[in-house]
Symmetry: C2
């Protein structure tokens, strides 16, 4: 498989220069007719049961043409196709790098009714890997269900602790919380991530160990947090008179240190072409989500993701939601000067989805060099942050409305609630009130309000984008997840960076290992003296630079 | 009480101009000796059992002098004193505004051994108000404990649902989660905030209503989310054959619509001089925290906050932690150009503390006009965001290390764990590993690392500040909370803005009410047709501008 087409720096494309000019006069949403019903009706896109309303972006027809040209000039759809075809896209040219394919897409390539397009065939080995692990997972979960996978006394398991951090936790946890109505009534999943011993201690107070499975999730098989928590949990099992090997399973890369240990009742595998932050649709998400929500809910999630992957190949911007979102984000980031992006789900179920998006986006695109190893001369990934609406309205929206900076918002809403236990109060349901709040914010941020009192003045022209679906089901969750994954990939492709490595986390890890012995030593020297801790920092600093 | 001293715009102070010059050559942490043990030992401050290490800020001795001058020129310590003395500080000169005192400080003015300083006497009415409500709260909680406050069958309550949003939820919830080791074993507190009907529905699945108290928390007594959720919850009680009036209590301002209703078994009052985001130490936090953690834990929280309030009057920057943090934040924000601030607690217990800080900081200082009603010509509140370490290291730290922008970080760490159930694994405890990670990040971000491979290069000079305490107890939590409250107040005073109103949230509320009838109507017109929702937006937009 040849490597992706090499391309010029994005800033020297014709479209980039055109956009720079157009940014001098972005669309004025506050002008008469600037946010008209006609505009709202026209500027929308649709795919896979999701609608995107982007009339409240500061884009003119000329900007939309130039953004489309930018996609064409940077050839990103073809390069996105290359990802799915198995090109070595996780790399930096001319320097040692991971040199891997990017094929988390294979995790959801399971459905005969959603086959490859003729021109974008996914490598068979990756498809086979995924299907094999899925079959193993299904069998394991069936065993839990049917009472063949049990504890030493033959009792069924009804709790599971997912030990993992970052990509091994954020996505699965966000999805687990998002889909609680699908949860088995009598099962619970706990997530322990933090090295903080209080994280595990708090979970050990909640879980009933004799009937609790543990899944150790670490691609490298050597993550400090996870292996340490594993040691701590194994001790807790032993103290409870239980054999950890009956309770512990793991998810890791083939051949990792974890993979070589015999002390797991079941091992699931992930592959080097699936990055941690792209792994919720692999067995990384599969074990905890399959256990908690059932295998068929997990399968629905994958189906939704697969649908979105296929829609992400569409040449029409009105149907390729990830590409549309990527381009609008680039307009805000590079041409209107936004450093951050607020994602506000009007859905309590998505309360932790933004924590997953933070990793997905910021770890992927928080980069300063291109895939050619050259420093970028343009802004890359923004700071992504947010909390659910309406809560956020009562917290940080003040700054979005009246602060001096520009903060584009992405709102996510659903036409129906999950539990469908709504009531009409004062003439409307709560779900209607929730959506009215979402649209109330869209309007207020777009059009603003003049006032003789400067403290009651709203400048408007604060861009938002609204993502609407019918109901947050497992399948809808899969579409939403893949939409954001593919948006991030598209932005990375336009910016010409490698969205699939994370070299930036390495130095901190190394220096931690340098500090640690000093900290243990300081503590031994002076007991719990309150300076002991700081002295370790001093000692470690004395050794700098290395 | 006279209003605060009027002062010149901060940008025309001598110190501001000096800082602008100094910002051309900020301290270079990557230079030989730029992050020396001597510097680490010297640049620290201490008060109330908290240490702040700020050697990893890009400040030279000249910058520190200029920042001190800035505080002097803007007279902020005196103006902070004015807050405590009851000056009308929540106002905009020459325009209609809230015109209120700012006296959440009175909520923790309860301790005879922590009296007022002679020159900063707090108004007696506010002190009396607070003490009266605290006595009522203590009596109520004692009744719960001793079985005189019970359900209709005479059974004790062991769950409580806190119905409130924004300031009526974020702080109390963050603190409740932070202090779980102090929780009564057999009691639980739930927080329902969101208008999303799924929020209440999910909680109703967890709570056992016959033994559950509800506290409706709304200062105005008319918050849409809270009143709607109250109606929904009252229905659920009635369906369960229970009399809501036996279970419902409320916290609201004297004379609010809520206060006028007879249907609560107990009412607690808050006062117009306590803003929602400053209310965790009032009865707003008192009911849920007192119920869940016990009155004495809540009292300890207030004691810690009171200690920090007194320390916040210190003229010495080395002992006035809020002022020090405020000034360092201003250096990063206004002179080094940082738009955001990442707060990273290396403590799982503080997992939701940043959500509270987001409101506290962004709603207070996300402002664009001065207290004189003039547009600011300088950056005000940054976007505040973050997740606990070590989790964040595996999520968004990539961008902090290698992204193109500047993201100052505030780390919070503790020398001891809360549960004290730690183990030595591979020669160190987990708490030591946790702190080693914190310091590893401080070092890596400060000094960086050259490399011939551009992808493994770290520029360094990314400023951090580390807050260290011994153990996260209720009292420590109170100190930390008040430290951030007072930091935010100090920044607002330097910037010359009103940190105590939130006019920016009003327009969205009004437009929501404009959209709502269209939404209910669209739905009636076309059933659940997938366009019904969007048509409401169109109809509402057609009526713009008003």
């Amino acid at each position: 498989m040849p490597s992706p087409v090499k391309s010029q720096p994005v800033s020297s494309t014709v479209a980039w220069r055109r956009l720079t000019e157009l940014a001098r006069h972005p669309h004025d949403l506050t002008a008469p007719g600037g946010f008209s019903p006609e505009r709202i009706a026209k500027l929308r896109a649709q795919a896979c049961g999701l609608d995107i309303l982007y009339a409240a972006q500061r884009v003119t027809p000329e900007v939309l043409v130039a953004l489309t040209d930018l996609a064409r000039e940077t050839n990103v759809i073809e390069r996105f196709r290359d990802l799915l075809r198995g090109a070595i896209s996780n790399r930096i040219e001319g320097y040692p790098s991971e040199n891997r394919r990017v094929l988390h897409f294979a995790n959801r390539h399971l459905f005969d009714d959603l086959p490859d397009r003729a021109d974008v065939r996914m490598p068979q080995d990756a498809v086979d890997d995924s299907r094999r692990e899925m079959v193993r997972l299904a069998k394991f979960l069936e065993g839990v269900e049917q009472g063949t996978v049990t504890n030493a006394k033959g009792e069924p398991f009804n709790e599971l602790i997912n030990l993992g951090v970052g990509g091994s936790a954020l996505g699965p946890r966000a999805i687990y919380l998002a889909l609680q109505p699908w949860r088995y009534r009598d099962r619970r999943v706990h997530f322990v991530s933090n090295l903080d011993p209080d994280d595990a201690a708090a979970t050990l107070r909640q879980a009933h160990l004799p009937r609790t499975l543990v899944t150790v999730v670490s691609k490298s098989g050597s993550t400090q947090e996870t292996r340490t928590n594993e040691a701590l949990l194994r001790d807790a099992y032993r103290r409870a008179g239980l054999d950890p090997n009956v309770h512990f399973t793991c998810v890791t890369a083939v051949g990792s240190p974890l993979d070589k240990e015999p002390s797991y009742r079941e091992k699931f595998h992930m592959f080097d072409y699936v990055g941690g932050r792209y792994s919720p649709t692999s067995v990384v998400g599969g074990v905890s989500l399959g256990f908690g929500l059932g295998f068929s809910a997990f399968e629905d999630l994958l189906r939704g993701a697969r649908e979105m992957d296929l829609a992400s190949l569409d040449l029409d911007l009105g149907a390729n939601l990830p590409l549309l979102m990527a381009l609008l984000g680039i307009w805000n980031r590079n041409f209107l000067g936004a450093d951050t992006l607020a994602v506000i789900p009007y859905s309590q179920a998505l309360s932790r989805f933004v924590a997953h998006l933070q990793q997905l986006d910021m770890e992927s695109n928080g980069k300063s060099i291109t895939t050619a190893g050259v420093p970028v001369a343009w802004g890359t990934g923004p700071v992504v942050w947010g909390e659910p609406g309406t809560n956020g309205q009562h917290a940080f929206f003040q700054l979005i409305h009246q602060g001096p900076g520009l903060i584009p918002c992405e709102f996510i809403g659903f036409r129906e609630s999950q539990y469908e236990e709504d009531e009409v109060i004062d003439g409307s349901t709560n779900q209607q009130k929730l959506l009215a709040n979402l649209f109330g914010q869209v309007l207020a941020l777009a059009v603003g309000k003049p006032d003789t009192n400067p403290n009651k003045r709203f400048a408007g022209n604060r861009p938002t984008l609204t993502i609407l679906g019918d109901r947050l089901t497992p399948r809808m969750m899969g579409r939403l997840l893949a939409m954001y994954e593919n948006k991030v990939a598209y932005q990375g492709l336009v910016w010409g960076i490698n969205s699939f490595d994370q070299e930036g986390v390495e130095l901190g890890k190394r220096l931690t290992l340098r500090v640690l012995p000093h900290l243990a030593q300081s503590h031994a020297d002076s007991g719990a003296g309150s300076d002991a801790v700081e002295r370790a920092l001093l000692r470690a600093a004395r050794l700098l630079p290395d």
